[in-house]
Symmetry: C2
Subunit: 126 residues, 2 copies
Amino acid sequence: MRRNTAQRMAIEKVFNQHERPLGVDEVLSYGRHLVDSLNQATVYRNLKILVDEGLLKRISHPSLGTLYERTGKAHHHLFHCRECNRVFELSGCALKEDGAAPGGFVLEGHEVFLFGVCPSCGGMPR
Amino acid sequence: MRRNTAQRMAIEKVFNQHERPLGVDEVLSYGRHLVDSLNQATVYRNLKILVDEGLLKRISHPSLGTLYERTGKAHHHLFHCRECNRVFELSGCALKEDGAAPGGFVLEGHEVFLFGVCPSCGGMPR
DNA sequence: GTCGTTGCAAAGCCTTTGCAGGGAA
DNA sequence: TTCCCTGCAAAGGCTTTGCAACGAC
């Protein structure tokens, strides 16, 4: 049976307090503000549990490594700003579902990463 | 100055013989058919060099880890079959460039992974 | 002969796991 | 009291790096 320990609740709370995708190190440091004994192994174990339960989604970002974000949000894509390195969630889907895969391929899901410059970094094209 | 060693030429040849994205272990084992002394560290060093030179592109696949593919191809996306685990290259771009990013965001690039079942695995929806 | 490259082994990340103590129910 | 969970440390993968020998030019 699943137990609500202070550590697990802290980790869940971190994702409620931060809307953007988080790395393991961020979960750990934010989580330690809530439970100062929080251990790295505990974070890894709980992230895995939360992913298995469907509360979190694991993302493999091309340049930032493994990130985790809450599920249940509207479909969105991630935008990585090359200036400030922040990851933004852009609502909506920019994929043409029709024509994405040739005949014979059954499309069950997709993952899109966008790269560029965010508004607060100026947005001058490279 | 860049030297054309047997090892480096073997690694480049591997990518010419295999059109699909390859993992480090695949480059190593295919490369050893050409130069049997080929070492893992040599593969890593040369993959980095080839990426820096722009001959290869490094891809971070959500479930298959780090892959490398030749650059210079027409724009395409990757399709990962959950049955046979192969990665296919689908020509063309399924991203709606217009509307992908809200005003203020400057879009410089994107990466798309598609997931599903390939034709040879039957393609029955999950 | 130079000096970029290689093979080998050690070292570095990031992530997982074994174990004994601790705490939720 | 039960047994899931935690902290700690060790161990596992993948990738990088130090070093001496090698070999392309």
